[in-house]
Homo-oligomer: 468 residues x 2
Amino acid sequence: MEWFHEATLTAGIYDYRYTVKGCGVWPPYGFKLRQNVLNILRRLLDEAGHEECLFPLLIPKSLLDKEKVHIKGFESEVFWVTHGGTTELDEKLALRPTSETVVMQMFKFWIHDYTDLPKKVYQIVNTFRYETKATHPMIRVREVTSFKEAHTAHATYEEAEKQVEEGIRIYKAFFDELGIPYVISRRPEWDKFAGALYSVSFETITPDGRTLQIGTVHHLGQNFSKAFDVTYLKPDGSHEYVYTTSYGVSERVIAALISLHGDERGVVLPPNVAPIQVVVVPIPYKGKEKEVELYSREVLETLKGSGYRVTIDDRQDVTPGGKFYYWERKGVPLRAEVGPIDVEKKMVTLARRDTFERSTCSLDKLANYVGELLSEVMKNLKERAWKRFKERIRRINTLNEALKTLKEGLGIVVVPWCGSLECALKVDSAGLKVLGSPLKGGGEDDVGNCVICNKEAKSSLRLAYRTF
Amino acid sequence: MEWFHEATLTAGIYDYRYTVKGCGVWPPYGFKLRQNVLNILRRLLDEAGHEECLFPLLIPKSLLDKEKVHIKGFESEVFWVTHGGTTELDEKLALRPTSETVVMQMFKFWIHDYTDLPKKVYQIVNTFRYETKATHPMIRVREVTSFKEAHTAHATYEEAEKQVEEGIRIYKAFFDELGIPYVISRRPEWDKFAGALYSVSFETITPDGRTLQIGTVHHLGQNFSKAFDVTYLKPDGSHEYVYTTSYGVSERVIAALISLHGDERGVVLPPNVAPIQVVVVPIPYKGKEKEVELYSREVLETLKGSGYRVTIDDRQDVTPGGKFYYWERKGVPLRAEVGPIDVEKKMVTLARRDTFERSTCSLDKLANYVGELLSEVMKNLKERAWKRFKERIRRINTLNEALKTLKEGLGIVVVPWCGSLECALKVDSAGLKVLGSPLKGGGEDDVGNCVICNKEAKSSLRLAYRTF
């Protein structure tokens, strides 16, 4: 976490020095990164027929109270607005921890008959949790600045289930584009979203071996539609409650990409979301200043013309070495160095941020070559992250061994499981965090015997010890 | 207001039925309109060197308290968070009414020496006011969903003043692009932003004759930098407090464009921000259904290929007349009708939303023609709005006549003024709202004698009676 705080601050991505605990600032460079990441998500959601909306922040207690399980899950960690000016409000208002209750109130207005279904909306907003545990920049915050929450309504249970699958597919595509490895688990019964029939979560593992939940998808059945009386008219003239789902990701995904791809020198940004993909650094030599400057601009314009996000660092009071250091810490994927020899030969020297490899290319082939290099950086970041991730997951057949291995620093252990809630709870009470079990068809074998009851395994449990 | 509520709800632009007073929802169509409007603003700000950021929502009382005039102006209308779960917070937190105090805290970290200046940032966020007066959708709300606030810091008073001028220039360009007429006034001393040296505001007039403030620009001098101890190192080695400005607009600008351009049938959207610029409506005839359908798709693809935002309404269970009505109420600037004769002649019939004029065009010239029509709609909306606006402003030489005329329904009256605060206050206490005086060089003559003291006028005052 020390590395993370320092690296994101130095890079200009995130500033966690604001006076309120758990509230961070996105400075300009970080804001652009955030937008690029969120725009991938917007594209994936829009392509799948979701529509972006904006719902209010304030939720009256009576509205939050309507779904009884939901409020139980949230009431102890909600911020409450109690006063307007010096006046005490008639009813206290929660800062949204999530917006199921708000959206359901509007769905009641928006959904009338079966032609209104499915209804698929999302918003990207700030949400709030009164975290009492230690907060961490971007990962455990009181103001979640970038919560993308999707809410959908359907005619049948099965259609809602299909929507859960679509949500999973979208998040897989999203994390894949960012090179973030993950496992997908059906969360245990006692750890599902408050108000859900079941919850599915995506987990990755940070470099220090802790699991980090980066996305969740929930089948809400008719729990919310019954609480909010949201029905639709069926073709046969009868009314039925709609079935709903919700799924969310937050800036944790940005925290994940930063911590997974970074190195000892700082942040390494994936080329597809890097605010700057290439920085041109002129390396002037005495007597050649003008030539180097002009040629550097030519390199800049060539890359700009090909649509890359590129900038030039032509500061006079910083040495080339100082510039290298500066842009490395900002995580820019490629550096184009231009010295007198490059000018002479009409070449450019390129340095990769991920491997520090250097290579040269002639100016006339530069645009294509940079495209190839950026693809290679992307591919390497993704492969490297997946390789490390897989090394941190192991299949183990006894609980003692699982606990020992996790305490030694492994990220996730998979143990065989009979499928009963009773055994899962026993695992949980052994001091291990049960992340959940793999989804059916996930390709993981369920051989062996349950670590608790020793009966034949029908599934498995993913366990962690150190989590965020 | 009844028209506004009904028109925006029917169009799918804004839904004001949420349970908390003064909090509205942006459904998908309205959200797209909002984005298109905000993206014009982003472009203008970015081009002028501003950088988008994101700052926290919650402001501790002690931070808000630092600038004494500022807190006085806001303390009675701020929402306060007092509890996290069931725990009372050590210090209550305000929901930002505006973010000067938050930004200044960060500027203290970000500004070190003269090379860090000017610093120009902005954010587009929700802000909150505990409005005790009657609330109105989009115009007087408790959650302002779309507050664009810019904050800048400079080395000298003069540079900050130049920045105020740039802010004014940007807002003029912004309102001009949306066809919204305005006057720009220097607000009276007693009505400036809490903490400012002076404030400039943009006002328009709604169809019912009320003035609506749609933008403000403030020179904050060193008031905030002194309160927050934000200094910079000058080239001579000494330190000085920075000079700051701030300027903001909100969704009021969207309320303005809707109410100014709309008509008795509902919303009329300016083509440059309309989520849909052209709707293709097939008008099938018996026996010609297939031809009409195919040709309608050809029209759709032609317009799509030329980059227009276009959709087709191919619903089977709605009549063409029903479709006309539907899309008129959504304010789509152009309707392309395709019937059997159009198919035969390879023509398209186009109907303008603003004038209801119909014209025809051959398919091969369609893309250009639609472009011309959209430009004409834009031009007409703008001219019409400015014409009406100017009819609602009159220069009058006595206070009694001014009051009478305003009470009869005129929007703004301009009266000669000697320039003294004393006289301006007397006007104010006569039951008139003093909007302010024209900026120098605004091209308005200051002839005549002050309506109060009868001395030679050095300026004038703009007065209103019914305001939002």
